[in-house]
Symmetry: C2
Subunit: 332 residues, 2 copies
């Protein structure tokens, strides 16, 4: 049975790294509603997801602190006194990680170590929930992928995200920091980055559908993914940050049934009433790090923390399309 989120978060002191980004800002909105005191950290790196518009409706109800997680002194200060730290800051583009592996290393490894060292030395009891990634699995050896699947990333981002996650488990096991990780699959919803196509396909598909453009599918578009609506992902973070059973653990998120990229594109065009699909050959650099079909099992987090995705794909996509139809200019 799940923990009671209202009693867990009412009055709690919560820090969110990557707090002006897609998931961070949606999480902040729930936290504010639950009565938490919320501080949002963001580095506002231009190519990343931080966007002031994401918090325009709650700007007066949260504390915003512009800083990079790599800034050790600031982190040492910012972690003090917190009850929960949602650690969502990251470099999330797979393709960028192959072009500039050092920035990815800095943000996804060094920053995570730095943040955990800050917790170890300044607030060892803070509950840390890390935004991990299904990218650590690489090309699935079986489907659905559960947490026992080997970790065999196929790009620099996946390797570094795996290391960043392992640090969290290690700092729990060795230093007693109550940290855990959620391995996110493809998340979509209001507030996500749509200004370029290097942070996954969904944002780009959404924007293209809203603009009535041409959605390009590589190959025959038959590769599958599982998609989580951001409000469901937020629910998983809240549960993991409140339930001591999560300490030291790693959980997949996920959704059933999986959907092919072709089905997804067609659904977006149907819902928006605009746009078209075009099949194009695989670009060489994307083919090299593609993982084929993926969908995950979320049985473990369902059994242990009581989480399950609640939003049907069609409903989530409709709400997201409506959001961007009204607000696209703030995301370009």
């Amino acid at each position: 049975m799940s923990v009671d989120l209202a009693s867990a978060y009412s009055g709690a002191d919560v820090l969110v790294t990557g707090g002006l980004g897609f998931i961070g800002s949606n999480l902040a909105r729930r936290l504010v509603a639950l009565g938490a005191r919320v501080t949002l950290m963001d580095s506002m790196i231009p190519e990343y997801g931080g966007n002031l518009f994401n918090i325009h409706d709650m700007r007066e109800r949260v504390t915003v602190n512009f800083a990079d997680v790599r800034d050790r002194s600031a982190m040492d200060h910012l972690v003090q006194g917190r009850d929960v730290l949602f650690n969502l800051a990251g470099q999330v583009s797979h393709i960028d990680s192959m072009r500039d592996p050092f920035t990815d290393l800095d943000i996804n490894c060094r920053s995570q170590l730095s943040l955990l060292e800050s917790c170890r030395h300044n607030n060892r009891r803070v509950r840390v929930v890390f935004a991990g990634s299904r990218q650590v699995y690489g090309r699935p050896m079986y489907l659905p992928v559960d947490e026992a699947h080997p970790v065999r990333p196929v790009d620099v981002n996946g390797i570094n995200k795996a290391a960043g996650e392992q640090y969290h488990v290690l700092y729990h096991d060795v230093h007693g920091v109550p940290a855990c990780s959620l391995r996110l699959t493809n998340t979509y919803g209001p507030g996500q980055l749509v200004k370029h196509d290097r942070q996954g396909f969904i944002g780009w598909f959404l924007r293209t559908a809203v603009e009535g453009g041409e959605i390009r599918l590589y190959g025959d578009g038959s590769q599958t993914r599982d998609l989580n609506f951001v409000e469901d992902v937020v629910q998983a973070f809240l549960l993991a940050g409140a339930d001591p059973r999560a300490n030291g653990q790693i959980y997949n998120l996920g959704a059933t049934p999986p959907v092919s990229l072709r089905e997804l594109a067609e659904l977006l065009i149907e819902l928006s009433g605009k746009g078209s699909v075009r099949f194009v050959p695989w670009p060489v650099d994307k083919r090299a790090i593609d993982i084929g079909s993926y969908y995950g099992s979320h049985e473990r987090i369902t059994a242990e923390l009581g989480w399950r995705p609640a939003t049907p794909l069609r409903d989530g996509l409709r709400r997201t399309l409506e959001f961007y139809a009204a607000n696209l200019r703030h995301y370009l």
Copy 2:
């Protein structure tokens, strides 16, 4: 059937990072004997294993280049024209990695990325053999540990070594650099670091036995390890650097039968005719990252590259003790 090492290395241009260290210098000695042109790189970081005495017998037959693998410009230049690159530079202390995780990250992740970027841009055909570690497995879930065992490191060093290894496989898979990794278990022999006890127990046991001191065993000393004599490890590197079947692969080294630390200590005392054993409680910081009993399966490299350990433990230890009895002053 194994490749012919004489024809593979005669006249070959070979770069060894960590070349003045324990394994690097023993590898250099074989390479010189095989007729290779050998360049040894070493950063000479004081606490690490680089030692000029390790190459005193071949100083005129190798080129020595003092530089850190983190020095990208130097690496860009040094990789050019090489046929084989034995990549042995690393931070190898588990306990140091927990005290100073950033240095470990710099050397075991950033440096490896930097070296591979140098190869990608300046010499994409160089065969790279990486010195991996059985530390990536963490606490064994079954014995003997084969390459299919999950990668679950229990210290920062293990996490970073895992990432460093994955970069090598990735640069093979995506960029075509013919790289591979050997997961070394405990290696011992002439030339290893014995000046402090933070690079594993064997060097320290050896030194203590030579000095007639007291070998301290944590707990009851029943935990097992498998030990490889350095000449056998060198043979594995030579095979992996010459055989195209190794490209993109990961291989365990290992030895049977495994030996308990207690048996090892008693054997050292018998062979040296000096020293004693004392059982002491586990230090807290070492217990937290201890992996329990370990021994690995080397079936895969035996089947694919024809490698197997050839030196009985007793013979290898005797030769090592004789070496340090004569040369200990150069290693303090």
